[in-house]
Amino acid sequence: MLRLHDFKEGIRIALTAIGANKMRSVLTTLGIVIGVVVVTLMATVIEGLGGALDKSISSLGTDVYYLSKWDWFGGEWWKARNRKDVTVEQAERLRDKFQLAEAVVPVASTWQRTMKYKNRSVKGNVNGTDPTYEITSGVVPEDGRFFNLYESNSGRPVCVIGYDVAKNLFEREDPIGKTIKISGYSYRVIGVFEKEGDFLGTSMFSKDTQAFIPLPNFLKIFGTNRSIDIHVKMWEGVDKESAKEEMIGAFREIRGVPPGEENDFGVNTQDFLKQVFDGVVSTIGIVGFLITSLSLLVGGVGIMNIMFVSVKERTKEIGTRKALGAKRRSILFQFLIEAATICMMGGLLGLAISWPLSLIIDEVLPSSMPLWVVGLSLSISIAVGLISGIVPAYTAAKMNPVDALRYE
């Protein structure tokens, strides 16, 4: 049992001892400091990634399947290369055949096209699609509107542009009704999408940098010789799994896949993000855990070593305290508290270092250091102190008072 006066005296002794050996104490805690920095930054990054994931998922639109020649995640791309293209015609057949979907949207894309207004230009992906795209997209036009069925079917030269495209081309001007050039062709801007934000830390896949034009128009300009994506969104209330099975069955039939053979197309969902995320998180987690444990181990051994030194140096003091009536328990606590205090200061130092670093991370990946990790780091630090202090403290506690007093 730890009595209050033992505790107070212990803290007092610890602070005096640490104060007398400031440099030594700080250097000793290096392992703890590194451990705490790693563990807190790791938690911050994981938290940030989680936030990014949530945003990305919501931007993709929920419960949307992306039928494509390619598998987004996993799969074997070298096999996918030999697959037949996914065509607009297949999309139309699926739309007719498959009734459980609210929307079956053909989306043809081309990468890094130049968009120009007056003397300003940007590069971004250009997509050809139809009005049902709005159902699956997850974002809505902030200004203006999406193109309607008439504009789409007749292939009018109209476009809806992403937030960043609008900002970069028009700055303060109102884009609606203005004409821009996409790969040299003129399009009238009829809508601007709301800001979507970066997608897992990159604007590459974000709608913010893209433009959308009617599909017939797209095919005319960029050619039909390409594989498109089909975005499928099920009706509310249908059973997800069976609907998915039915969709796959229908699309297999359309593409003429014989029974028993595997799909010759990718059925992608936002789940891939989750998989990427889990992969990244577990990698960070494992690496972080290894570094943290290693530095805590090194730190713990360092603390144990310095505590042995401290006990040795103060042998005479221990003898004196015992002569004055200190019990084993008091001496034990004295050194345990000293070890725990050193480690806790290491923990605080670590937090003092990782706090500004977490603000820097926040710039790149919106995040904040979770509070629980602060508590956890301090608890771990103290635990390391107690564990590595126990043997030296016990050595001190069981010293024979006469031998301790005689020690030179």
Partner: protein, 236 residues
């Protein structure tokens, strides 16, 4: 009943190759309010005897009763408690905590006996005043002279109102003038009713005591009451 009753106490150190007999059969009684000096050549077992009396060390064999308690029956914690409440130590090397103030040094025994902070402070201040250091309470040991340090140590020894004060060569590290001042302090304590046991090499220091025990080779060579101790001679 004597305060201290020692019968056939033997203390042997096993050095592997040989056995060192630090005490080989010591018997003595010490009454309350005695002032005893223990003398003898170096290595004769004086410190060993003091450590046994002070419950810092346990004899290899023999009986030691302190205030009618058989010390041999006590465990570590009980011994610590006796040292804390009944015994005050004064060491040749002062043994103060270097980074603590005089006041905190004197408070130490009270901390270990669980006295409240308020009382602790009062008692420690009182003790320091009684050794003439009322104006040095917040000084650290390295800010004090040798004599002052030993006074702090004496204040520390008496702060818990012990039954007995044990001083192992308390003047050994002091010049003779300071030594005499320290001796005067012990004489005063004795006159107030304290029991004092003192180890010394110097005849004129021992001359303050009213009983002188001489050790030789771990045995008591002589144990005599001084006809006219310096204390009384001076008092006249």
């Amino acid at each position: 009943m004597p305060l201290i009753h020692i019968k056939d106490v033997v203390k042997t150190y096993d050095m592997g190759a040989e056995l060192v007999h630090a005490l080989s059969g010591v018997s003595l009684d010490i009454e309350e309010n005695e002032y005893v000096a223990i003398m003898g050549p170096s290595g004769s077992g004086k410190s060993t005897l003091m450590n046994v009396i002070g419950c810092l060390d346990t004899p290899t064999s023999g009986l030691y009763e302190f205030t009618d308690q058989n010390v041999g029956d006590l465990d570590d914690n009980e011994l610590a408690e006796i040292r804390n409440r009944k015994i005050g130590f004064v060491f040749q090397t002062f043994n103060l905590l270097p980074r603590s103030t005089a006041l905190h040094n004197v408070e130490l025994p009270l901390i270990y006996s669980g006295v409240t902070a308020q009382q602790r402070r009062e008692k420690a201040e009182q003790a320091l005043v009684s050794v003439g250091l009322g104006d040095r309470m917040t000084h650290k040991p390295n800010e004090l002279s040798g004599g002052q340090r030993q006074r702090v140590a004496i204040a520390r020894a008496l702060v818990n109102d012990p039954s007995i004060i044990l001083a192992d060569e308390p003047t050994g590290n002091l010049d003779s003038k300071t030594g005499i001042e320290i001796m005067q302090l012990l004489v005063d304590l004795h006159e107030k009713g304290n029991t004092i046991i003192l180890v010394t090499h110097e005849e004129d220091i021992a001359a303050h005591a009213h009983r002188i025990i001489r050790l030789f080779d771990g045995k008591i060579a002589s144990d005599e009451v001084v006809a006219e101790p310096l204390i009384y001679a001076k008092a006249e």
